[in-house]
């Protein structure tokens, strides 16, 4: 079970993930239609039925817009791998149930086949055979992600 890696560079801002002019909606498809379009016009066709988004440092910097992880998840991104994440994106992604893994992504190339295991924190590059260990998530974030996001977590728990 593996998915294709779509690789991008450093400092991908939430403005690039979904431009501010497209966030004024509650319709998921409106967000999907414009996800990543300024950086990769072929993004949606490349995601196909599902893909792994791979980036360098400081992925998701800038605006706190939660539409950014929401757009990626709804577009079919199964996990985001980056060498580091901006703080608010990191939190938003976990909150909406989009898995993210902080790991050294330098050895992953665009088009590689990737397998990942959130539980063990391992990322396997099926194309090269390399195994990368991700930084573990704090326990409370593992619980939120396991529930499927904060909505489900609070439905179950009532409070933090």
């Amino acid at each position: 079970m593996s998915d294709v890696a779509l690789k991008y560079g450093d400092d991908i801002s939430t403005d690039l993930i979904i431009a501010g002019k497209y966030t004024k909606t509650l319709n998921l498809q409106d967000l999907v239609d414009h996800a990543m379009e300024d950086i990769d016009p072929d993004f949606l066709s490349r995601v196909g039925d599902g893909a792994v988004l791979v980036a360098g440092k400081y992925f998701g910097c800038g605006s706190s817009r939660e539409q950014a992880p929401v757009a990626l998840k709804a577009a079919g991104i199964k996990v985001v791998l980056a060498s580091s994440f901006a703080r608010i994106f990191f939190r938003n992604a976990i909150n909406i149930g989009l898995p993210i893994m902080e790991c050294d992504t330098s050895s992953i190339s665009d088009g590689d086949r990737i397998d990942f295991d959130i539980g063990t924190g391992t990322v396997t590059n099926v194309t090269t055979g390399a195994v990368i260990q991700a930084k573990p998530l704090p326990d409370n974030m593992v619980k939120i992600l396991s529930a499927g996001g904060v909505v489900e977590y609070l439905k179950e728990q009532g409070s933090f």
Binding site: D15, A19, K24, S63, S84, N92, N140, V150, F160
Partner: protein
Amino acid sequence: MGGQTIAQKILSSHSGARAEVGEIVVCDIDLVMGHDANGPMAIRAFEKMGGTRVTNPEKVVFVMDHMGPAPFEKAANLQAVCRNFAAEQGTQFMTIGEGVSHQIMAERGMARPGGLVLGSDSHTCTLGAFGAFATGVGATDLAACLLTGRNWFRVPETLKITFEGKLDPGCSTKDVILYVVGRVGADGGNYKSFEFYGDWLEDIGTADHMTLANMLVEMGCKCGFVCHSNLGIEADPDAVYAEETVIDLTRIEPGLAKPHTVDNYAPISELVGMKVDQGFLGSCTNGRIEDIRIVAAILAGRKIHEDVRFIVTPASKAVHIQAMAEGHIATLMEAGAVFFTPGCGGCVGTHGGVPADGEVVISSANRNFRGRMGNSKASIYLASPASVAAAMLTGVVTDPRMLAEQEGAHV
């Protein structure tokens, strides 16, 4: 057990236990802000959580600042979602044209020293100028606050930045913070709290303190504090800092952030003469009365260059009215400026100043990411209000200090 930083103190007082760096703590929130761009998503998430009544509605405010007046029907409908929810739940509500949330929360004294503020906007950190632990979150985190009145925090490390020396009077606070962002890097403060120190903080005013705090998030910071003597909260003398940095103010000259990252700093001397197409004065960074006064002083009795457009968006209605009372609106309009409704539209690319393909914008706002102002084929240079005004006069990037010298020569 060492002393505590300001961030630790505030998270301790709001969680009921001493907050150690790296711990996860759950805190009661003093003020929750949602705006028209992210508020509706938060309201939907609140409903999906099974929420029916907002906890502490008096501590919640919805601000219609990202798209006012509504430029298209989706925007109008999203504002209606917020308006109806606020009325049903008895929360505070601030309508279109009141201004940018951070500015109006400041004007109304809603952030207090030692308080804990969460807003669905990354520039919520601006309220660190008033001694509050103020940080930006997404819609679902906001929904969690609406439901429970609380949220969880990882207790951040703190970076201490001390300003030393005297600043050239031809430079402004924006020049300083652009330099700092360039030095620290766009991710240099990721997850961290900052504390700014130095005698210079006593010499500058509240508007400047807000400009400094506003751009903390451009270094990734969670929150930060401008530690002047009247802040109303202070760190323990033996607080432990992750890092300490000194900024020598005497080395600073007017500067800009080049496209497409905020830490892509250049002193203005490297860019003088570059043609610009549009100027923008506004935003939670530099849209205050102090900024308008600076620009009006430069443009008084003159015309902007025929090849540029100059868009001014006061940070709030109160700022707009004050500028009118002081005569600056007429000064700027006679010079050729165009005014837009107080709010965020121009900075965030909703409306109120979208540039054309290939154009260059010089802006007093806080972000120059590709596509930020609504067109990914435009380039945004961030600068001080004085540098924006100087470029509007000449049509090219111009050191505002040179303009002052030319003025002197005329006299």
